[in-house]
Amino acid sequence: MSSLAIDKAGPRRKVKYGSMSRDRVWALRWSYFFLALFAIFSLVPPIYMLITSLKSSAEISAATNPWWVYHPTLENYIALLTSNQFLRFFWNSAWVSIIVVAVTMLISVPAAFALARMKFWGSATLATGVFLTYLIPDSLLFIPLFKMFALFGDWTGIPLINHWYVLLLVYPTLTVPFCTWIMIGYFASIPKELDEAALIDGASWLQTLTRIFIPVALPGLIAATIFAFTVSWAQFLYPLVFTTSTDQLVMPVGIITSLIKGDVFNWGQIMTGALLGAAPPLLIYAFLMDYYIAGLTAGATKG
C-alpha cells in the first residue's frame, strides 16, 4: 500500500527545454546590434575628421563623395606641422596644461589629505563647499574675471589680459575642486589603522602623506592628473575671452580663429588641426582608459 501513488492521470505541462537560452541569444544579438548603431553614431564625426584631413582642397571643393578619399594626401598635415603658428598653439596648450596639472595636484592633494584625514573645525563644511563651487560655471565667471584682470593690469602694470599665463590662474578653478573631490574619495577609503600604524611607527603628518597615502592612492592620483590635463587642454571659453593675439592662443581657440580666415574655410586644414588638437586626450584615453573612466566616475560613486 503505497501512499505515494504518482498521479499519472493529471495534466502534464509540455516543458520546452532551451527556450531560455534562445531568448538570451536573441537578447545578445539585439544588444550588439544597437551597440553597433550607437558606436557608429559616436564615431562618425572623428572618422569624418580623419577622412577630410586626408583630402586636398581641390578634392573637397570638387564635392565628390564626402565619405571617401580618392586621392589621399598628407599636405594638410605637413602644412600644419610646419606652420610656426600652429606649433605655437600646440606649444602654448602643452605648457599651460602641464603647469596647470602640476599646480592642481600641489593644491588638491594636501587639501584632500587634510579634509579626508585630519578632522578639524569646519572640515566637513569645507568639503561640501568645495564641491558646490564646482557648480558655479565658467560662463558666469568669465565677465567679472575679465574686468578684474583688466583692472589688475591697470593697477600693477603686470598685463594679464592677452597673455597665455593668465590661463594659469583661471584653469585651476576648473580642475582643483573636482580633483580634490576625487582625492578625498580615495584617501577616505584607506583604512584608518594605516594612519595609526604610521603614527606609532613615528611618522609626521607630512611623512604619512608622502610615504603612505600617495603611494597607496596612486590610481586616484593618476585619474585626477588625467582629468586635470584633459580639462585644461579642452578649455575654450576662458582662452577665447582672455587671449586674442595669435601668438598667445591655445589650440582650441587657435584653430578656430586662425584657420577660418574671413569667409574662406580651409576645411582640410581645419579638420587636420582639429584632429591633431584632439590627439593628446585621445592618446591618453587609449592607453590609460581605466584611469580616465575612474576619474570620471569617482566623483559620483565614491562621493
Binding site: P191, E193, E196, A197, L199, I200, D201, G202, I212, V216
Partner: protein
C-alpha cells in the same frame, strides 16, 4: 625600566564615559591581558596607553615618565592591530623597517634587526613579498615583526587574533607566548576571548562598563572571582548561578535551592557564611565541572540529587548536560559513559567544596 602605570584614568566622549577611573600597575616584563565584553573600555584604555586617544583625566606613566601629552612616536611603544595595518605598497622587509628608516637607523642595524625578527617568527622566506601575497596568519606575524624590530619598552596588542580562524588562533597564541618568553618586553594585550586571556597572561584585568572588575592571575580569577561578572565571564562553559537561601536546620547551615532541594554546607563553608543574614537573596555559583555524575563513594561536601536532563552535548572527552531547576538552565559535565540521554533522568552530584555564594543584589562574592 618599562613598567606601565595608569592612575585614575578617565575617558569621556561628550556625555559618555567610556573609561571611568582605572588604576593599574604593570611591572616590567609582565604580560597583562585586558579582557571584557565589547564596549567595556579595554580598547579605549589600550589606545590611551598608545597615545591614539587623548586622556580626559588621570595619568599614564610609562617607564617612570608621565606620557599624557607625549605623541605616540615618542612613547617608545609598538602596536599590533586587529586588522594588521600593513602598508600595502611595501614589502614585508620594508613594512618591518619603516619605523627604523624614519629614525635614520644605519642600514646594517636595520638589516640585522629585521633578519632577527623574521627568524624568530619564521617568516624569513617571505621578506620580499607584499602583504596581498600573504595569508592572514603570515600577515599577523609580519605585524608582530614590525613591533619587535623596534625594541620598544611596551608591546600593545589590540585583539590581534580576532580575524583568524579558530585553528590558526590556537597556533598564533602559542607563537605570541613563545615570542614573549624570548623577548620579555612588557606587554599589554586586549581581547574579548577569555581563553586567550587565561592562556597568555601573567595577570588578567577583567573590565566591564568602563571599570576594572578584578585583577589577578588566571588561577585567582578562576577559583576566587570577586564579583558575579568575573565569575560568569571566566570559564567556559560559564558558571551556573542558582537563586538560593541559607537556612538553619537541625544545628547545621543548609543551602536551599528549591522547595524540594536543599543541601548541608561543608564545615569550612558553614563557618564562612555563618554571619550572612538568612533573609538575603543569594546566588549559588557552581561551575559545570562541579556538577557531575554521582558515584558510589562520595566525599564530604559532595551531595547527590536527581535531575531530568533536557539536552545533552557529547563532546567526546566529556558530555555536557543541561537541565532546568526552577526555570533556570543549569549546565553540568559528566563523563561519556555516564549514560546521559536527552530527556532522561540522571542522578548527579554537586561538589559544594568548590561553591561560591553571591549576594544577588550587589553581585559580590561572599
Amino acid at each position: 625600566m618599562a613598567d606601565v602605570s595608569l592612575r585614575k584614568v578617565v575617558k569621556r566622549y561628550d556625555d559618555v564615559e567610556a573609561v571611568r577611573g582605572i588604576d593599574l600597575d604593570i611591572a616590567d616584563h609582565e604580560f597583562v591581558v585586558l579582557v571584557g565584553p565589547s564596549g567595556c573600555g579595554k580598547s579605549t584604555t589600550l589606545r590611551m596607553i598608545a597615545g591614539l586617544e587623548d586622556i580626559t583625566d588621570g595619568d599614564i606613566v610609562i617607564g617612570g615618565d608621565v606620557v599624557n601629552d607625549v605623541p605616540p612616536k615618542d612613547r617608545d611603544i609598538a602596536m599590533v592591530f586587529q586588522n594588521y595595518a600593513l602598508y600595502p605598497h611595501m614589502t614585508v622587509a620594508e613594512n618591518m623597517s619603516f619605523a627604523l628608516r624614519l629614525k635614520h637607523f644605519p642600514k646594517g642595524e636595520i638589516k640585522s634587526r629585521v633578519d632577527e625578527a623574521a627568524r624568530m617568527l619564521d617568516i624569513s622566506d617571505l621578506i620580499d613579498r607584499k602583504p596581498k601575497q600573504l595569508s592572514g596568519g603570515q600577515r599577523q606575524r609580519v605585524a608582530m615583526g614590525r613591533a619587535i624590530v623596534r625594541h620598544p619598552k611596551v608591546f600593545l596588542f589590540d585583539e590581534p587574533l580576532s580575524n583568524l580562524d579558530a585553528k590558526l588562533r590556537v597556533q598564533m597564541r602559542i607563537e605570541i607566548k613563545k615570542v614573549h618568553q624570548k623577548v620579555r618586553t612588557t606587554t599589554v594585550y586586549v581581547t574579548h576571548d577569555q581563553v586567550e586571556a587565561m592562556t597568555l597572561a601573567d595577570r588578567v584585568v577583567v573590565m566591564n562598563k568602563g571599570r576594572i572588575e578584578q585583577i589577578g592571575t588566571p588561577n585567582e580569577l578562576y577559583h576566587k572571582p570577586a564579583t558575579r561578572f568575573v565569575a560568569g565571564f571566566i570559564g567556559s562553559p560559564a558558571m551556573n548561578f542558582l537563586p538560593c537561601r541559607l537556612e538553619d536546620a537541625g544545628g547545621r547551615l543548609n543551602i536551599r535551592l528549591t522547595d524540594r532541594l536543599s543541601f548541608p554546607l561543608p564545615p569550612q563553608r558553614a563557618a564562612r557564611y555563618q554571619n550572612v543574614p538568612r533573609n538575603d537573596k543569594l546566588l549559588l555559583g557552581i561551575r559545570p565541572e562541579h556538577l557531575t555524575e554521582t558515584s558510589a563513594h562520595l566525599e564530604s561536601g559532595v551531595e547527590p540529587f536527581d535531575a531530568v536532563l533536557d539536552v545533552t552535548e557529547p563532546m567526546g572527552m566529556e558530555t555536557l548536560v543541561y537541565f532546568t531547576l526552577e526555570g533556570n538552565q543549569v549546565c553540568g559535565r559528566v563523563s561519556p559513559g555516564a549514560g546521559a540521554r536527552d530527556g532522561a533522568p540522571l542522578r548527579l552530584a554537586v561538589d559544594l567544596n568548590n561553591m561560591h555564594l553571591l549576594n544577588e543584589g550587589t553581585g559580590a562574592v561572599l
